[in-house]
């Protein structure tokens, strides 16, 4: 599978998707003008990956901020992870957040609550 590497911009997060190296990461701020333009290809890639995933997938979310529209896209991403879980694959979503950021922590907790995907929380200083 091709490797997706997107550098973080002012309004879009950095993304690295690499099946061979088993790296799946999204980090930074997400507030693109049109979320579909940015997330469309990413969701497509993950959907493709979900058909033949690695033995264990650790998807790293390290987001500082995302707007409401982005949150719908991230929830679509979780839905694909959920499909992988239901197909019997090992999937863990790592939720990294700034220690003081209660809002980001609670956003993660909401995903944990709603989605059937195992989550691990990593507050950082």
């Amino acid at each position: 599978m091709e490797v997706i590497v997107i550098e973080a911009q002012l309004d879009t997060p950095g993304v690295k998707l690499d099946k061979a190296s088993n790296i799946f990461e999204i980090s930074g701020k997400s507030l693109p003008e049109n979320v579909m333009d940015f997330y469309g290809p990413i969701l497509e890639w993950v959907e493709d990956y979900a058909k033949q995933p690695n033995e264990e997938t650790r998807f790293v979310f390290n987001l500082e901020y995302f707007n409401t529209a982005s949150s719908k896209m991230i929830s679509s991403l979780f839905e694909i992870l959920e499909v992988m879980v239901k197909a019997g694959h090992k999937v863990v979503a790592e939720w990294h957040y700034f220690e003081d950021d209660d809002d980001m922590q609670s956003a993660g907790e909401e995903f944990e609550d709603v989605m059937e995907v195992e989550m691990e929380f990593f507050p950082y200083m």
Binding site: Y65, T68, A69, D100, D101, D103, E109, V114
Partner: protein, 739 residues
């Protein structure tokens, strides 16, 4: 050596230049000598012809004579002879010639600005071209007719012909023709004072001119290339000629050598002959030399002349190119102006939308009547906002909400309008069907979510929009000192005795969601005086800024609230405004719409009871309307009155509702499914004789009015509804007032 040739060449040159000038200046009305001769010949030939037999020839001769006079710009004679030719051509039925001659005469008159005469002849030409079905000629006739009318200052009629001509040339893609038409249209509109229309046509004219110029330049370029090629070929030919000349000279030299040796052999015998030959030889060489010199001079002249022409051509081309550059620069500027203009228009329309949004948001007066110490810090990121606040009062209960719709700007604003309309509808319905005390905060959110999901068709399907809103909603009951709070993602902060109590919102939005069937949590809180309530959207806490470009975050916001909550709320708003501006600094822009509502609870506030006569909030209006948009428009039109609004989707629902409930007035649509307005009103009149029923419909003729009166409508309002009149009419019947 004798060089008398150069004056001769000068003479040639001078003659040549004079010739050019004579051609260019020939503008007299009398015939040139050769033309006069030719006319005389033709006239004498004419005399020999039989007017009854040789009509075709006679027509032809007259035409030829007319043409000669026309060439000499002798217009009177030209028209005269062309007219004679027309007579004969008509007699032999040569329609084609008749048309051409009419057209020529028309052109002559047009050139000397006899527009009336020119118009008649073009009209004639047009008639014939129409008979002959020649669209392109028809177009040109019409174009010239338009020009004549323009000359007569009949600009509107002129435009009529131009449009007709334009239609034809457009079909045949005749760029030149189109350009001419647009140019004249622009002139006409300018003369008529319709500047905008004129500019529009002028712009099209410019772009067509541009297109033509492009074509012309490429043509000119190929021409120049061809001339260059020709020049090279000629040079080559000349070189070859020079080579031949050299060869000739060379062979002559050989001959001379031969003669020399012969001479040496017969030296003694042929001395005299030799001397004579010598003489001849000198003459011969001189002749060759002079010939060659002459030839070279001519060559030089040709070369210089070509050079001169070439230069002129290049200069013309350059000029054209410059004009082209100038034009495209102008066009770029025009496009920039256009873009600016469009941007201004869009901004203007959004600004207008902002006025509507402001009008729909609860007016300050209404809120101040209930809360004595409060603020609403509302700072949209763009002109219109995706955040909105909502407020209503039912007796001793006040309801206030802070909401945050998906997106900001225009899309957010659409959603916020929907949110406001739904909240009004839901709360009014509950307040009327049940006791005010049965209002439940979580129930309102539940119904709001239902409405959003239904109206945005958010059911299943992957492609559905997940748009919606986050909201914090409080019901403050002044009678029982009781607060109800329900939230979707947006929490409530309560400051009491220096402590901040955060009531967490449910982790689900007001939109389609996995848990869209779950109820929201209803928090019930016993209020004390001086309790401070804060509800808000996430715009403030998510703002980037500070030293490290971090988010403001809830933690910091809580500390700030703790710090300032005892100050008057007006001052708190000032502090928050300053804090936001300081936090984002110069480096960061406002990220999202910002909305914070804060208020201090005071149980002693005497809710001012409005004058009974004008207390709309106690009145109930039933709107019978099948189309959602129309219904919302009516609701918005009456939003300032606080009247309680109920809805029926058709006549049958209305009848049923009236049988079971009290209403003070009905606004009845006429055309509806199931049961129309006429039938419903007839039914309702059977048991409610005095109830004001007002018809509202778009098609309102005399017949409809008659029918409305007959059936028992109290009055009628025509759509589109005019706000002020509308409210006054309703007021009249609601309070039995005289207008």
């Amino acid at each position: 050596m004798d060089i008398r040739i150069s004056p001769g060449i000068f003479l040639l040159l001078v003659l040549f230049i004079i010739n050019i000038n004579v051609c260019a200046q020939l503008k007299t009305a009398t015939l040139s000598e050769s033309d006069a001769k030719e006319v005389n010949v033709l006239l004498s030939e004419l005399e020999k012809l039989d007017a009854s037999k040789d009509k075709l020839q006679i027509a032809d001769f007259y035409n030829k004579i007319g043409s000669i006079y026309w060439d000499n710009e002798s217009t009177v004679e030209a028209v005269n002879f062309f007219s004679k030719s027309i007579q004969f051509n008509i007699e032999i039925g040569n329609r084609n010639a008749v048309q051409k001659l009419n057209y020529n005469i028309a052109l002559i008159y047009y050139d000397i600005e006899y527009f009336d005469e020119a118009f008649d002849y073009f009209k004639e030409s047009l008639k014939q071209n129409q008979d002959l079905n020649r669209p392109i000629d028809i177009a040109y006739d019409k174009y010239y007719l338009a020009l004549c009318l323009q000359g007569q200052k009949k600009f509107k009629e002129s435009n009529k012909y131009l449009r007709q001509a334009l239609a034809i040339v457009q079909e045949s893609n005749d760029v030149k023709g189109m350009r001419n038409c647009y140019s004249s249209l622009a002139e006409n509109y300018e003369a008529l004072g319709e500047t905008a229309e004129s500019m529009k046509n002028y712009e099209i004219y410019l772009s067509l001119t541009n297109e033509l110029n492009k074509k012309k330049i490429s043509e000119a370029e190929t021409k120049v290339n061809n001339i260059e090629k020709e020049k090279l070929q000629k040079e080559k030919a000349l070189r070859q000629q020079a080579d031949t000349l050299k060869e000739v000279l060379h062979s002559k030299a050989l001959q001379e050598q031969e003669i020399d040796s012969l001479n040496r052999m017969n030296e003694l015998r042929e001395t005299i002959i030799k001397q004579q030959e010598e003489k001849q030889r000198v003459v011969y060489f001189a002749a060759i030399f002079v010939g060659a010199f002459l030839f070279l001079l001519i060559l030089l002249f040709i070369f210089v002349y070509r050079q001169f022409r070439q230069k002129k051509k290049t200069a013309a081309l350059l000029e054209q190119k410059n004009a082209e550059v100038e034009l495209s620069k102008k066009e770029a500027e025009e496009q920039r102006d256009l873009a600016n203009e469009q941007k201004r228009k869009i901004t203007d329309s959004i600004k207008y939308a902002k006025r509507i949004q402001n009008a729909i948001l609860p007016p300050k007066k209404k809120i101040t009547a209930v809360f004595d110490d409060y603020f609403i810090f509302f700072k949209p990121r763009d002109i219109v906002s995706g955040d909105f606040f909502w407020f209503t009062r039912k007796d001793k209960v006040a309801i206030i909400a802070a909401a945050d719709c998906t997106g900001h700007g225009v899309p957010g604003a659409f959603m916020s309008m929907l949110g406001i309309a739904f909240l009004n509808e839901i709360v009014n319905k509950i307040a009327i069907n049940k006791h005010i005390n049965s209002l439940q905060a979580n129930d309102i959110l539940f119904q709001l979510r239902e409405q959003v999901i239904n109206s945005l068709h958010q059911r299943d399907g992957k492609e559905e929009s997940k748009d919606g809103m986050d909201i914090a909603l409080c019901i403050i009951d002044y009678e029982n000192n009781r607060l109800q709070y329900a939230g979707a993602h947006n929490p409530l902060y309560l400051m009491r005795d220096g402590d901040l109590i955060s009531y967490a919102a449910d982790k689900m939005p007001v939109s389609i969601h996995r848990r869209a069937d779950q109820e929201f949590t209803n928090h019930i809180i016993q209020l004390k005086d001086n309790d401070c309530l804060y509800i808000f959207s996430d715009g403030f806490v998510d703002q980037f800024g500070g030293e490290n470009g971090r988010k403001y975050m809830s933690k910091r916001f809580k500390e700030l609230v703790k710090e300032i909550h005892q100050k008057p709320f007006e001052e708190q708003e000032r502090i928050l405004t300053q804090e936001l501006s300081d936090w984002k600094g110069e480096k960061y822009h406002q990220l999202d719409d910002v909305l914070i509502i804060g208020l201090r609870y005071n149980s002693k506030v005497k809710l001012k009871k409005a004058d009974e006569e004008h207390d709309w909030s106690r009145k109930r209006i039933l709107i019978v309307e099948d189309i959602d948009v129309n219904y919302f428009l009516l609701v918005e039109a009456m939003s300032i009155t606080e009247v309680q609004i109920l809805r029926a989707h058709n006549g049958a629902e209305a009848v049923e509702f009236c049988q079971k409930n009290e209403v003070d007035l009905i606004l009845m649509d006429i055309n509806m499914p199931v049961m129309d307005g006429y039938e419903a009103t007839t039914e309702i009149r059977k048991f409610r004789k005095d109830l004001p029923i007002i018809a509202q419909t778009a098609q309102f003729g005399y017949a409809e009015k008659e029918k409305c009166q007959e059936i028992g409508f109290t009055d009628f309002i025509a759509k589109p509804i005019e706000l002020k009149i509308f409210v006054r009419i309703i007021e009249k019947y609601l309070f039995n007032k005289n207008l």
